[in-house]
């Protein structure tokens, strides 16, 4: 315990002696940090790399690809996610990817910008709650550009003056507090997940002002968030993300619940933080150790990401174990999506066959619920690894609910004299047509036809 000197030679220079960087507290450009923290800056630049793993990785590929989730254009029919939906990639691409994505249209709101740019905290400070609902293309984007925004950058997680970790998106602490979690004194370990939990979470836009809101009042589990959406959110005026074009059901779209899934999973329960795996210590520049700022699949860096804790295990075998967990998850996901697809079409047939509104409504609630329970797994980016049992439980519940819809429909349809055989064969036809279409944004058009007419004549504002 006498190694205090020597350290100073390793850290850079005079600026830090005072414990501050000398940067302005409002600094939002990554480049401003480059000279002071070249090692971390260079590490950040690695986020440009694109390389896939078996189920994830960072090549910008469509999620509709045959080996990914080919039924999505059916399942999100009538919503922006049936237009374009891609595998996520490095933080460095966040601005480029949101600018280009077809889900953004002339009505999109500022809230969409929230998790993509370093300009956000300051904008919120300036504009107050008007930020959320402001027009994305007209107002927010140009403003951000003028401010010199960076895609997810140093200031999103660090105080530019002290480099202390910080939470810059107000929705996060609001969400935790709604669950009764004390946010006044987070530990270092907490902060190593909190900075990620600002963005890698499920959210919706509040009905009144489009504010980014996290559905955590009842807990982090899929069933707890669903309960929130069916009670508290409804009381506050939020009922749905969109109306499904096939089943006419009021749907929820779930989004990247990495934080929630991790928190209830194997590693989260063991107090492991996001940064432990996704920002492992690495040796750069000779013998200096830094926190990696290359956020990517830890399967590419198992030695540093996993070896610290699992040094006793053969890492190749550990990787096999991860793939085994993921194989089981993805297989089950595909089955759940298939059953969910069937449920939407059965309801479509209920509508066109003149089944009573009451029964249709019941079936629509089932299909909404069934889809929630698989989507919360599909939207989670670890293919089940962050919580193997919990994700499988959700997929199980999904098929229970989708089947409730199918059952109810079957009873009513047969009463109306509808041929279930014919219905099933028509479903196979649309599924084939969707998958046969080569142009991604046209896939959705094959999901409806004269047998299964569209149920959503007015396209609502795309909000996500």
């Amino acid at each position: 315990s006498n190694s205090s000197d020597g350290a100073s030679e390793k850290t850079a220079s005079a600026k830090e002696a005072k414990g501050t960087t000398g940067l302005s507290k409002d600094e939002i450009s990554n480049e401003a940090f480059k000279e002071l923290f070249p090692l971390q800056y260079n590490s950040y630049q690695k986020n440009e790399k694109m390389e896939d793993t078996k189920y994830n990785g960072s090549v910008k590929r469509s999620k509709y690809d045959p080996d990914k989730e080919p039924l999505l254009p059916v399942l999100f029919n009538g919503y922006g996610f049936a237009l374009e939906y891609n595998e996520d990639r490095g933080h460095i691409y966040a601005l480029e990817d949101i600018r280009d994505v077809k889900r953004i249209n002339d009505k999109s709101v500022g809230s969409c910008y929230t998790c993509k740019s370093t300009a956000v905290p300051q904008m919120i400070e300036e504009m107050g709650d008007d930020y959320w609902g402001a027009n994305f293309r007209q107002e927010i984007w140009p403003k951000g550009e003028a401010m010199g925004h960076s895609p997810i950058g140093c200031s999103d997680c660090h105080d530019p003056e002290t480099m202390d970790l910080r939470v810059t998106r107000p929705s996060f602490y609001k969400g935790l507090e709604a669950q009764g979690i004390d946010t006044s004194n987070p530990t270092k370990n907490d902060m190593r997940s909190y900075v990620c939990g600002q963005c890698h979470v499920e959210y919706h836009f509040a009905a009144d002002n489009s504010e980014v809101t996290f559905p955590w009042d009842n807990g982090f589990k899929p069933e707890e968030m669903y309960e929130y959406y069916n009670t508290i959110a409804k009381e506050n005026g939020f009922e749905k993300d969109w109306v499904h074009n096939i089943s006419a059901a009021p749907m929820l779209k779930s989004q990247h619940p990495e934080y929630e899934t991790h928190a209830s999973g194997t590693h989260g329960k063991a107090n492991v933080s996001c940064a432990d795996c996704h920002m492992p210590y690495e040796r750069v520049d000779g013998k200096r150790k830094i926190t990696s700022h290359y956020w990517t699949s830890p399967l590419k860096t198992m030695d540093t990401s996993c070896g610290q804790c699992h040094g006793d295990r053969d890492l190749d075998k550990l990787k096999d174990r991860v793939l085994e967990i993921q194989d089981a998850n993805v297989g089950a996901l595909h089955e759940a999506q298939d059953i969910s697809t069937t449920a939407h079409y059965y309801i479509n047939k209920m509508i066109t066959s003149g089944v009573s509104q009451d029964k249709i409504k019941q079936a629509q609630e089932f299909v909404r619920k069934g889809q929630w329970f698989w989507d919360i797994v599909a939207a989670e980016n670890s293919s089940g690894f962050h919580n193997p049992q919990g994700s499988m439980d959700s997929l199980r519940e999904s098929v229970v609910q989708s089947n409730n819809a199918i059952l109810l429909a079957t009873e009513e349809l047969v009463k109306k004299g509808v041929s279930i055989e014919e219905l099933n064969s028509e479903i196979e036809k649309v599924k084939t047509a969707v998958q046969a279409e080569a142009v991604n944004e046209k896939k959705k058009d094959h999901a409806v036809n004269s047998y299964f007419p569209a149920q959503q004549p007015v396209v609502p504002a795309v909000k996500k």
């Binding site: 000197d5 350290a7 090692l39 902060m191």
Partner: protein, 174 residues
Amino acid sequence: MLKKSLKKLLAIDKRVLILGALLAGVLFSFGTVKTMAYLDSPGFCQNCHTMKSVYTSFVDSTHAELQCNDCHLPHESEAGKLFFKGRAGMTHIFYNTLGTEDIPDRIYATTRTLRVINKNCAECHKSTVDNVSHDAKENCMSCHQTVPHGSDFKDDSYDQPPKSGELIKNKGGF
């Protein structure tokens, strides 16, 4: 005294350290009892920044009273010990001077080290090992995963609020 000079030795120019490497053998073989004791001690090993987590996890372990080399060096004979130490010392000095680019991100005990350690465990804990067949796994650490470094790489400081400014201080190199 010796402490300081060693620390300096470790901090100076690489070319000098090559010399140091050559000197190391001499140092080891002519070492007084006191020198040997120091070279076995936590104080010496933890001089090296790469040892931070093994050191901190060690100091609050049940084995904190021991010397690193109670575990890390063979104890059958003084000669064997010196040979092993010499070889490990050379490796160490190589990595910290010429071979810095090749230092792995995650340092693992080599198979050779594990064999040695395992033997030392069994030796100290002979009575335990004798009265029950205690060799069900490849090595003792398959079960005793936290002896003595294993309480994962995160020390107690992670369970406390971060200290303001510490990231600037640690901006690269520990």
